[in-house]
């Protein structure tokens, strides 16, 4: 896929939302340069979870999984020279992605207006918790904060229980935002090709979370927590089988004759009793044969066991064999190349400044000496 082949992205994205957005753009062919500051590295390097024996402490798995297929340049945006270098790169680029707390870019005097002065065609994607204005503009959040504030948590939960959130391991809004923002950037790129010029995209994660449950705002009846039920299904829940496996079942109106034949009745108690006294493999086979939707509620290893049989693209391998995030869709005629591994901090500063910025080796040494940029001996690999 080379749909963004001529598109250069300066990635100020951190943690998941911003960094994963740029990773998707890289999958579409964009040349993505992750820019980190020597005085403020992506916090995901330090608190994204476990680092395993033999791994660099700055390169934990979650960080490597998210930042593959990018270059890495270290520029200190707090210094006048560093800011100048960044704006020079903006003049040579097409897209900037950022998800800092609101106010950070303004304090650095790196607003859309200043970027547009450097490049009138720049597309700036500003990803934030609440958007660029409004009384909650400065609210900070993680994904599950937004599930609560956007209306999703109020409707999630057992019938007799409190609201629920997806939690730190899932953190749904922080994952899905990357798909949406990459889509909006690709749209802005399309519009630019049609003469629309640059764009400032103000993207509120809270609004996205509400939008993803948009119909709940249009319902004329009072909504409440209903566990696993959905309106279109007669029965829908997880039931534990005789061998202790939680099985997810969706029974539609049209399935009731087959359900009656199988379980001796069509109410929920029948379903629950029959599954509780039957091995999971038998339940799944019988439901499958009857054309009724059923599947095991798998944990991590269970999901991995279905790789290639049920799913194939969601995880990928980098060229060094590291397991990284995969792609969102397959191209039925184009093969996708393996991604370059995630580069170390500052791995490509010199190459980027020379290749894109046109700086000389002497310029670069001087910038490094005054702390505007940082250099690193470790290179990402050969340039394209």
């Amino acid at each position: 896929m080379r749909s963004l082949a001529d598109c250069r992205v300066l990635d100020l994205g951190i943690i998941t939302a911003g960094a994963a957005t740029s990773a998707i753009l890289a999958d579409l062919g964009a040349d993505v340069i992750k820019i980190e500051s020597p005085s403020y590295k992506d916090p995901f390097r330090r608190w994204s979870g476990q680092t395993f024996p033999g791994e660099h402490p700055d390169m934990p798995p979650f960080f490597r999984m998210t930042n593959r297929r990018k270059w890495n340049a270290a520029i200190d945006l707090k210094t006048p020279k560093g800011r100048e270098v960044f704006l020079h790169l903006v003049s040579k680029s097409d897209v900037v992605v950022e998800n800092f707390s609101r106010g950070v870019l303004a304090r650095l005097n790196l607003t859309y207006a200043t970027m547009r002065e450097a490049n009138p065609h720049i597309i700036l994607a500003s990803i934030s918790s609440q958007g660029e204005n409004g009384p909650d503009e400065r609210y900070v959040s993680f994904g599950s904060t937004l599930e609560a504030m956007a209306g999703l948590a109020a409707l999630t939960g057992y019938r007799d229980g409190p609201p629920e959130i997806s939690g730190v391991d899932y953190n749904y809004p922080d994952q899905v935002v990357a798909v949406f923002v990459a889509s909006m950037i690709a749209t802005a790129w399309y519009a630019r090709q049609n003469g629309a010029g640059g764009a400032h995209l103000d993207l509120s994660q809270r609004e996205l979370t509400s939008f993803l449950a948009g119909e709940t705002f249009l319902s004329e009846r009072l909504l409440e927590r209903v566990g696993n039920a959905q309106a279109h299904a007669v029965h829908q829940d997880c039931y534990r089988s005789f061998d202790g496996v939680w099985l997810a079942i969706t029974v539609l109106e049209q399935d009731l004759p087959a359900l009656r034949k199988m379980t001796g009745g069509d109410d929920e108690a029948n379903v629950q009793t029959w599954i509780a006294t039957t091995e999971s493999s038998v339940v799944l086979k019988r439901f499958q044969d009857a054309g009724i939707a059923a599947g095991p509620a798998l944990n991590g290893p269970g999901v991995l066991s279905q790789r290639e049989d049920g799913w194939s693209r969601a995880l990928g391998l980098a060229t060094d064999g590291d397991v990284v995030k995969g792609v969102l869709f397959g191209d039925l005629t184009h093969a996708l190349t393996l991604p370059r591994p995630t580069p170390h901090f500052a791995a490509d500063t010199q190459d980027i400044l020379m290749r894109i910025g046109g700086y000389s080796v002497e310029d670069i040494r001087a910038l490094a000496a005054e702390g505007a940029i940082a250099l690193n001996e470790t290179k990402s690999g050969s340039m394209p």
Binding site: G167, Q175, P296, G310, L328
Partner: protein, 348 residues
């Protein structure tokens, strides 16, 4: 907010409703909703009595209000789709329809969706959520796994279809022959669950639902609930904001200590926040930069000061009934894109 030309103005998208599981039709419909709000002319062709008949009226209004809707008998559908395909700039459909269109030599950029590799038209959104490991992460460990409300998986997949469609159009503009793009619901679920798999692959901790012992959890407050969400960098601010001496003990002095005593910590936090209102918690979060989440209901959000300030909801009339419609969550050069209603009937 100012007016702004919509970026997809002039583009015609043919949306073919699915006759397969409802999740496919919802995903396709969500893709079309995004495109319509961005200015595309979206023609939706659906089989009368097909999957869309299972969706609720609210879902149909949310997804299809801005489209030209055509509901036809199954025998007429394929011929109509081929006819409309000739003038469309792109097509979104399910995998079964994509195969049929390709066999008829349709060359328009196509983005399609299936349920999974091993069962392209089988299962439900719920059973695919189960297979992708997402259900296992939510709820109480002593009770059944739990899904998030709404259609988190189908709509994420719908967003991915939209991205695939734009990609195909960009490829065509670049002079490439765009291959049909395919999204699978199970792959999207696994993609969302990447952290669990990243740990499972490396033989680390295997995440699963932990209920009230979770790092992040929901507790009652004086007038509802609040999601206690924070990470290591917010701990000092949380202590300062609450001013509670019980949080100063040695047993909570490090990440490891807090993890080891999480149940006790969560009991204390529950007690602290039980006396605050959601309004108090919102103010506290803004003052101390804490990511705490007051739980608002959809009905409350319609009048929420922040949502109102950003005109996230706008009035629409469908079949002489008035609704507050959530707009596409992007403000483009200062302009929002409210839904332009074309739906004449909310029926499938």
């Amino acid at each position: 907010m100012t007016t702004q030309a919509r970026p997809l103005t002039g583009l015609t998208l043919l949306e073919v409703g699915s006759s397969g599981p409802l999740a496919l039709d919802l995903a396709i419909g969500f893709c079309g909703r995004i495109a319509a709000d961005l200015g595309a002319h979206v023609i939706r062709v659906a089989e009368r009595g097909g999957a869309a008949a299972q969706s609720t009226e609210a879902e149909r209004i949310f997804l299809h209000s801005a489209k030209q809707n055509m509901s036809v008998a199954v025998l007429q559908r394929d011929e109509l789709v081929r006819e409309l395909a000739a003038t469309a700039d792109a097509i979104v459909c399910d995998a079964t329809t994509q195969i049929a269109l390709s066999s008829h030599g349709v060359k328009v950029p196509i983005a399609c969706i299936g349920m999974s590799i091993d069962s392209p038209a089988g299962g439900s959104e719920f059973t695919v959520e189960a297979r992708s490991g997402l259900l296992d992460l939510v709820g109480d460990p002593g009770r059944q796994p739990l899904r998030l409300a709404g259609h988190p998986l189908a709509y994420t997949a719908g967003t991915a279809i939209y991205l695939a469609m734009i990609t195909a159009i960009l490829q065509k503009i670049a002079g490439e022959a765009p291959g049909a793009k395919r999204v699978d619901l199970l792959d999207i679920g696994v993609w969302l669950n990447w952290k669990t798999l990243g740990l499972a692959l490396r033989r680390g901790r295997i995440p699963t639902r932990a209920g009230s012992a979770s790092e992040w959890f929901i507790v009652p407050c004086a007038d509802g609930y609040v999601a206690l969400v924070y990470r290591v960098q917010e701990w000092e601010a949380l202590k300062q904001a609450t001013g509670d001496p019980r949080l100063l003990g040695e047993e909570f002095s490090s990440v490891e200590q807090r993890r080891a005593h999480r149940t006790k910590l969560n009991v204390i936090l529950s007690d602290i926040f039980s006396r605050m209102t959601r309004k108090d918690i919102r103010a506290l979060s803004l003052k101390f930069k804490l990511p705490l989440g007051p739980v608002w209901t959809p009905a409350e959000l319609l009048a929420d000061s922040h949502m109102v300030a950003r005109t996230f909801f706008h009035p629409v009339a469908v079949d002489d009934r008035n609704y507050l419609m959530p707009r596409l969550p992007v403000v483009w050069n200062g302009a929002a894109f409210p839904t332009v209603v074309k739906l004449r009937s909310a029926s499938a």
